[in-house]
């Protein structure tokens, strides 16, 4: 049951990040995916377990403006923030 819940949260996080990045543009989304894979050998769903990778990649691409992307992801996950792992993910990408 716990594993299923975790898989669900993983999917939710992936979808939220995907939605925010696609809102800017598909090549931007592709660039983030590419950098995650190149620098950390990591796919987007795995960022749920390693939010620090996503944090570093967003900083690398957007510099100071990564804060806005993080805010938009937070907003997308707003309803699930009561769930500890999601709140932990959001805190980790905000650092």
């Amino acid at each position: 049951m716990n594993v299923d819940q975790d898989q669900l949260r993983k999917a939710m996080v992936s979808l939220a990040v995907e939605k925010v990045l696609l809102g800017i543009g598909k090549p931007i989304y592709n660039n983030v995916i590419k950098q995650l894979s190149k620098d950390y050998n990591c796919y987007l769903p795995e960022c749920y377990e390693h939010p620090e990778y996503l944090n570093k990649v967003l900083k690398k691409i957007f510099g100071n403006a990564h804060v806005t992307i993080v805010d938009s992801i937070k907003k997308e996950l707003d309803e699930c923030m009561t769930q500890k792992p999601i709140a932990h993910f959001v805190t980790a990408i905000s650092e």
């Binding site: 090549p27 900083k59 691409i61 957007f62 403006a65």
Partner: protein
């Protein structure tokens, strides 16, 4: 900034293209004004046509997706406008042998600016929460200070040119300084990021535009301008 420097080193082809363009026009000036005119006119058509091709490639990558997709479509609008402007200028100068300033070419040159401004707006749109009033005020002050030499020349000149020509000449530095505001905001927003490279190039380009347009205005008012003039480089 280190990131930008590394990026600049990677962009050798960009530097080679800029160098070839600059050297071509400089060399042409040694062969007299007529040669400089022909070489500069054709070089500018090639440069702006390449600008259109590159913009089409970037726009097609985005396929109108997201805010940046719209931004790059608008960027394509700038490229097309300026390519048409250069072509019109060349036709007036080399085919009809008339002075291309002021002419229909100016309509195309000026219409490129709203597209460029809207490109910046759409590009920065997803990050608008970070843009404070203070940031807009500071960047606007910088833009206005860049405009001072041009405004001084407009107000204080003894040119025989018509008021319309003088005002039209002043329009370019004004438009450049308006574009400068979002470019400076972009530099600040994306500081330390890879995207910052694009905004650094845009800022350098706009600053060179301001210099060239102010130079164009000065030499036109003093009846010293010709196509291929060092200010064109």
């Amino acid at each position: 900034m280190q990131n930008n420097f590394e990026k600049l080193q990677e962009q050798k082809s960009l530097f080679i293209c800029l160098l070839i363009t600059g050297v071509t026009i400089t060399l042409a000036t040694f062969f007299g004004k007529e040669v400089a005119k022909v070489v500069t006119d054709f070089t500018y058509i090639i440069v702006t046509a390449s600008f259109v091709v590159l913009s089409i490639i970037i726009s097609s990558r985005f396929r109108k997706t997201g805010s940046h997709g719209k931004a790059w479509m608008l960027f394509l609008g700038t490229a097309v406008s300026w390519c048409m402007a250069e072509t019109t200028w060349t036709i007036y100068e080399l085919v009809y042998h008339t002075n291309p300033f002021p002419s229909l070419a100016d309509v195309f040159y000026i219409s490129g600016y709203p597209f460029l401004f809207l490109f910046s707006i759409y590009y920065l749109k997803p990050f608008n929460k970070l843009i404070s009033r203070k940031m807009i005020l500071i960047t606007s002050l910088i833009a206005v200070s860049v405009l001072i030499p041009s405004l001084y020349m407009t107000m204080d000149n003894n040119s025989a040119e018509s008021k319309f020509t003088i005002a039209l000449g002043a329009t370019y530095p004004v438009a450049d300084s308006i574009i400068l505001v979002p470019a400076l905001i972009g530099i600040f927003l994306f500081f330390r990021g890879e995207v910052n490279f694009l905004w650094t190039l845009l800022l350098i380009g706009i600053l060179l535009e301001v210099t060239a347009d102010t130079g164009f205005q000065y030499f036109t008012l003093n009846n010293l301008y010709y196509t291929g003039h060092p200010t064109d480089i």
